[in-house]
C-alpha cells in the first residue's frame, strides 16, 4: 500500500477514490500538491470545502509518511535523491523550525489584526483601527476562515453576525456550514464582549486590561427543576451578594449533594 492508497482509505471513498485519481494521472501522493482544489473537486465529485480538507490531509500525511520512513530506514533515505521543485523537511525539530520560520514570514507579509487589548503589538498599529464593533480576530476562527472573511472585507464580529450566510459563503469561497459555524462563534463572542464592557470600569478610569472569565456552566443542582413537593428553600432565590449559581452556605449543596 502506498501513501496515496492510504490517504484514499483514510479520507476518501477507498478504492473508488484511488481508482479515479490514478485514472487521471495522480499516481503518488506528491502529485496531489500540483493539482488545483477546483479540478480535484470536479474529478472526485466533492464539494470545494471537502476537497480542500482532503488536500490538507494529504499534505499532512505525506509529511508523516516521510517522517515514518526516516525512522524506519534513515540510511536508505539519506541516499535517496531529493525531489525536485520542493524542499522536503525531515525530522520533528527541523519541521518545527521550518514552521516557525514560515509563520514569521507570514506575519511579516500579511499581518493579522490582534485583539483590541493587545496594545503593545506592532500589528495593531499597521492594521486600520476598528472603531465600531468587536474585531474579527476576537472570535477563535481558524486561520483559513479568518483570512477568507477578512479578504471580503468583514472586519467586525457584528458585521459577520449580521450578514446573510449564503452571501458570505458565496463571496468567501467557504462552505455554508463553515460560515454558519463562524457566525455562531461571532454572535457568542460579541455577546461576551458586550457583557465584559458592561462590567468594566467607568470610561474615565485609566485603560487597563480587562480579563473576562467566562462563567462555568451551572452545576447540576441549579439545573434541577424541583417539583411541587420540594422544600421551599430550594425554590428561594439566592441572596444578591452571592453568585446566582452558587447555593447559599446555609442551604446545603442541593438535592444531589
Amino acid at each position: 500500500m502506498d501513501a496515496l492508497a492510504l490517504l484514499c482509505n483514510l479520507y476518501g471513498d477507498g478504492p473508488s477514490t484511488l481508482k479515479r485519481l490514478r485514472a487521471h494521472g495522480v499516481l503518488r501522493i506528491e502529485d496531489l500538491g500540483a493539482r488545483q482544489a477546483g479540478d480535484l473537486a470536479t474529478l472526485l465529485a466533492l464539494t470545494p470545502a471537502i476537497t480542500r480538507r482532503f488536500l490538507k490531509e494529504a499534505s499532512a500525511l505525506e509529511q508523516r509518511v516521510l517522517d515514518s520512513a526516516d525512522a524506519v530506514n534513515p540510511v536508505e533515505q539519506a541516499h535517496a535523491p531529493k525531489r525536485a521543485g520542493r524542499e522536503v523537511v525531515r525530522g520533528k525539530q527541523a519541521m518545527l523550525a521550518a514552521a516557525a520560520q514560515l509563520w514569521t514570514e507570514l506575519d511579516r507579509t500579511s499581518p493579522v489584526p490582534q485583539t483590541q487589548h493587545a496594545t503593545e503589538s506592532a500589528h495593531v498599529q499597521e492594521e486600520p483601527v476598528v472603531k465600531d464593533g468587536t474585531p474579527l480576530a476576537a472570535a477563535e476562527l481558524d486561520r483559513a476562515t479568518f483570512e477568507a472573511l477578512h479578504g471580503i472585507g468583514i472586519r467586525t464580529l457584528e458585521d459577520l453576525a449580521g450578514m446573510d450566510s449564503e452571501v458570505v459563503a458565496a463571496a468567501s469561497g467557504l462552505g455554508l456550514s463553515q460560515v454558519l459555524f463562524a457566525q455562531g462563534l461571532a454572535r457568542r463572542e460579541a455577546r461576551a464582549q458586550i457583557e465584559c464592557t458592561q462590567r468594566a470600569a467607568p470610561s474615565d478610569a485609566p485603560e487597563e486590561l480587562v480579563v473576562c472569565i467566562l462563567q462555568p456552566s451551572a452545576p447540576t443542582d441549579s439545573r434541577f427543576s424541583p417539583s411541587e413537593r420540594a422544600p421551599a428553600q430550594w425554590l428561594s432565590e439566592p441572596s444578591g451578594s452571592q453568585c446566582e449559581h452558587e447555593p447559599a452556605a446555609d442551604e446545603g449543596a442541593g438535592p444531589f449533594a
Binding site: 492508497a5 492510504l6 477507498g14 478504492p15 499516481l27 509518511v65 515514518s68 535523491p81
Partner: protein
C-alpha cells in the same frame, strides 16, 4: 492453481468474511474458485449455505475417508466448497497417529489442481495448530488478516511472527501479504491504527482495506455473498478492488510453480508495478520481502 490461506490467530478479525467474499469476487471475475473451510466452527460453510454435517467434508478428506472430488459441493456465485464440520477438530488428535499430517491438504488439493484457478483456505483462529500448518504447507500465498481495531497491531505482529515460525518449521515458502479489515474511518483510533499498520507492513499491505459494513453481516446471515444482496454496496466495491489486486498480484502460474518460485514471481511483479507507478526513485530498487 494459486492457493491462498487467510490466517490470523485472533478470532473475529474477518478471515471468514474475507475468504467468502474474495472468492465470490474472483468468481465474478471469471475465475474458477474453490473455498476450503478449514475451521471446525464451519462458519464459511454456513456463510455459503452449506450444512457441514449432511455430506462428506474436509474432515473426511484429510482422514482419507473420501476423495477430494467426492467432497466438493456447489455454492452461490458459482463457487465450489469443501465444507467443514465440528468433526474436523478431531483431526488435531488423529494427526498424532498420521505420517506427515501437515501435508494432507496439499495432497488433497493437488487432486483438483487442474479444475480451479484459485483455492481460498479459511483457517481456524489458531495459528500453531496442525490445521493452519496444513493450510500454510499447501499455500502459494498467505494473507494475514488484520482487523483495524483494538489489540490489532500487537496481535498482528505476534501472529506474523508465529506463522513465519510455523512456515519455517514446515519448510514452506509462500508470498506473504497483509489485508486490513473492518475499517471504520469515522473513528480517529481506526485511522491512526491504519497509519501504524501502513508504516509497519506498507509494502505487504493491499491498497484495499475492507471497510466495516452492515451489508456484510446481513450477507452472512442470509448465507450468500454480499454481491447477491447488495451488489452496489461499499463492501462489494471493496472486494471487487481486492480481487483485482489479487489478480494483478502475480501471473496465474501452474501448481508446479508453487512455493518459492511463485513468491519470487510475485515479488518481481510488485517491483515492476512499483517502477511503473514511479513509486521508487530511479536507480534504487527495493524488493519487498
Amino acid at each position: 492453481m494459486r492457493v491462498i490461506s487467510l490466517v490470523n490467530q485472533k478470532g473475529g478479525c474477518g478471515k471468514t468474511t474475507a475468504a467468502i467474499h474474495l472468492a465470490a469476487a474472483l468468481s465474478l471475475a471469471k475465475q474458477r474458485v474453490l473455498v476450503v473451510d478449514l475451521d471446525p466452527q464451519a462458519h464459511a460453510s454456513m456463510g455459503l449455505s452449506a450444512q457441514g454435517e449432511s455430506g462428506p467434508t474436509i474432515a473426511d478428506v484429510l482422514c482419507d475417508r473420501v476423495t477430494t472430488r467426492e467432497a466438493l459441493r456447489s455454492a452461490p456465485c458459482e463457487l465450489t466448497l469443501l465444507a467443514s464440520c465440528q468433526r474436523l477438530a478431531e483431526f488435531e488428535e488423529e494427526s498424532a497417529r498420521l505420517v506427515g499430517p501437515e501435508q494432507r491438504l496439499r495432497s488433497a488439493l493437488e487432486e483438483v489442481a487442474d479444475d480451479f484457478d484459485f483455492a481460498l483456505v479459511d483457517c481456524p483462529a489458531r495459528a500453531d495448530g496442525v490445521l493452519t500448518a496444513n493450510a500454510l504447507c499447501a499455500s502459494t500465498s498467505a494473507f494475514l488478516v488484520i482487523e483495524t481495531g483494538a489489540f490489532a497491531l500487537q496481535g498482528a505482529l505476534r501472529a506474523r511472527a508465529l506463522f513465519e515460525e510455523v512456515a519455517e518449521q514446515q519448510g514452506s515458502r509462500f508470498d506473504r501479504r497483509v489485508l486490513g479489515t473492518m475499517f471504520d474511518k469515522r473513528t480517529r483510533f481506526a485511522r491512526e491504527l491504519l497509519v501504524a499498520l501502513h508504516s509497519r507492513f506498507g509494502d505487504e499491505m493491499y491498497d484495499t482495506v475492507v471497510r466495516s459494513s452492515v451489508r456484510l453481516r446481513e450477507a452472512a446471515a442470509c448465507g450468500r455473498p454480499v454481491f447477491d444482496i447488495a451488489p452496489r454496496s461499499a463492501a462489494a466495491d471493496d472486494f471487487h478492488s481486492l480481487a483485482a489486486e489479487v489478480l494483478g498480484d502475480a501471473p496465474v502460474v501452474g501448481r508446479e510453480l508453487g512455493g518459492h518460485v511463485a513468491s519470487s514471481v510475485a515479488r518481481a511483479a510488485r517491483v515492476v508495478a512499483a517502477r511503473t507507478s514511479k513509486d521508487l526513485p530511479n536507480g534504487s530498487v527495493h524488493v519487498p520481502n
